[in-house]
Symmetry: C2
Subunit: 359 residues, 2 copies
């Protein structure tokens, strides 16, 4: 497996470093051979060179099986990074250019991790969000009229295509089918977004007919946010367009213990280009370089990378390595019981070693 | 004060009935005289007559000082009500035609009410959302290309105008200025929505200069959802565009005890047309007509109606009545301690009487 590594900014290099140690530890036992190649794309690199990700970079990255990304982003409010130049130039560019049309975000409360919700346990918080990742408000379609005047108008357009929506919905049904509950909820706002919502709703209903064993539901996005805090147990798999998915998956991360623990994958299930796997947290420049950042979310994202890439490429050793990492993470999380994930007292490298021991 | 009353569907008539009893009780003591006129607009009315709200209805309603609305909406999944016909035909029509550009949603944890969040009390959950109510994805701008084919494209456009954004932001600053903390957070997604987000961000920064005593912050909407469950105490006043506002205010309702308690107002602060005040909950057809629905959210919305309409019209008696209702509600909520708000065991009329006694 050829891995491209974008360690990125802030705590990125540390959490990625710990994750790669875990990979080195697990690989021999399952017979996985791998190479890693470092790429410098980051806010720091942009500030130094003026480059984010060029078309040549994209072409180079296409030669890899998967991409592990730590975190990209500079200091909050740095005017040189305004307007989402790094987010758009690196993260969104990768998602769109690699046609990573699935953003996979597991929302599981791990053993020992505290949820901010009363009376909820691992049994209540155990679902997966399938976020569409290449359309919607993320296309960058829009513009200004009379910018800078009292008559300024800005538009920003959601784009939903049958093609893009259907392939995402199909992936979600396939995933739901493999799970115990076999339940899939579409989240949208069809009573207001009568164009984009209608495209989603019709595609959902039509694809549902091909999956008679999957039970379905529909929730408005506002109601979904209420359910996530009052009754998260109603969810098994959620399928959701890009922008609403961005919102509800951060809420999902919050109820499952916060940023410190949330993993994610951006992938093209058809294998036409490498997927990109990243923790949900940011670059946290305030604690960078101090060996205090928690690498669990990145290690877990690496597990996801190995399982998903392994499945897409038919690489059983990778799947096995990914499963072992996932299991090891769940054995380590009880050590955070009663602790703040971000200030646990354990060093970044120490947590990595705990996972290696648990393997 | 001339009140238009749209009791609506399901539990609407019951919760509105209890609220009007409270109004009758409070009015004489503060010297407020009022009349009420019932209007039949509802899902039931639409199914019977084919009418939602006509231009004539809007013209008639303009003659009133304010509108109290119970709940509109029929059975979930009724195909005759698909595509948001009632939502768009009644609620959104009122908001847009009456230019109710502020949707005011207090998020306060009342005494005795249980939040689903651990370790959070009334001190942590006490903020107000100012949601822009006449632009954004709610304009209905969009359409289809090749609908019903594999090449279908749907678009749905956010519209943000300097005019619309600035007046809303200005209202939020004025409100923040009157509060103890004097803190205002703009919630948007400027790193992705680089057109609409830019219009909001520039207007926010420019208006902020006129309010040097108000402290400001900016949060991405996804981060805001995390903060709402992990650190709701960071918020004092939030200003937010329509669609994100819809989402975060439902989440706000959830952390403050749920739908059963959340009040809201749609208003035009310039007084050019009546405001419309409504509980956040829906018509709950499953429990309609059984005298079990909790009228607290509607009674509290009536309090908001009286305070806000009184302020806009310079009617001190109305403001006083509204304040007394607000105080009475806070005296009654401890009686729900340890109970489910929606199945409290108290009858709808009984809860109304509890508020009247507390007056
Ligand atoms: C950084 C930002 C562009 C990104 C998004 O909005 O998708 C992030 O919030 C995420 O969810 O991965
Ligand atoms: C019913 C619906 C159109 C409405 C909205 O989206 O504004 C509701 O969710 C609300 O928040 O008042």
């Amino acid at each position: 497996m050829k891995l491209a590594v974008i360690a990125g900014d802030g705590i990125g290099p540390e959490v990625v470093g710990a994750s790669l140690e875990v990979l080195k530890a697990v690989a021999p036992s399952v017979g996985l051979s791998f190479t890693t190649t470092d790429f410098p794309f980051s806010a720091a690199h942009f500030l130094e060179t003026g480059h984010v990700l060029s078309d040549d970079d994209i072409a180079t990255l296409r030669g890899y099986d998967a991409i592990l990304l730590g975190a990209v982003g500079g200091l909050p409010n740095d005017p040189r990074l305004a307007g989402g130049v790094i987010e758009k130039g690196v993260l969104l560019k990768l998602r769109f250019e690699m046609d990573q049309y699935i953003n996979l975000r597991p929302v599981s409360l791990y053993p020992g991790i505290e949820t901010p919700l009363k009376n909820k346990t691992s049994e209540h918080i155990d679902f997966v969000c399938v976020r569409e990742n290449t359309e919607d408000l993320y296309c960058g379609v829009g513009g200004f009229v009379r910018k800078g005047t009292p008559h300024e108008i800005a538009t920003q357009t959601m784009v939903a295509t049958r093609f893009g929506v259907e392939r995402c919905i199909r992936y979600a049904f396939d995933l739901a089918k493999t799970r115990k509950r076999k339940h899939l909820t579409l989240v949208h706002k069809t009573n207001v977004l009568t164009f984009a919502g209608d495209t989603w709703h019709r595609a959902f209903q039509e694809v549902a007919e091909e999956y008679p064993d999957v039970e379905t539901a529909y929730h408005h996005v506002d109601a979904c946010c209420m359910f996530m805090v009052s009754k998260p147990e109603v969810y098994d798999v959620i399928v959701v367009p890009n922008m609403f998915g961005d919102i509800i998956t951060d809420l999902g991360a919050a109820i499952a213990g916060g940023m410190g623990i949330a993993s994610s994958g951006n992938l093209n299930p058809d294998g036409v280009a490498p997927g990109m796997f990243e923790p949900v947290h940011g670059s946290a420049p305030d604690i960078a370089g101090q060996n205090v950042a928690n690498p669990i979310a990145t290690i877990d994202s690496l597990g996801l990378l190995l399982r998903e890439t392994g499945r897409i490429k038919g690489d059983a050793a990778a799947v096995k390595a990914g499963e072992q990492i996932g299991d090891a993470v769940r054995k380590v999380t009880p050590k955070f019981a009663g602790k703040n994930l971000d200030r646990s007292g354990y060093g970044t490298d120490e947590i990595g070693k705990m996972v290696i021991e648990a393997l």
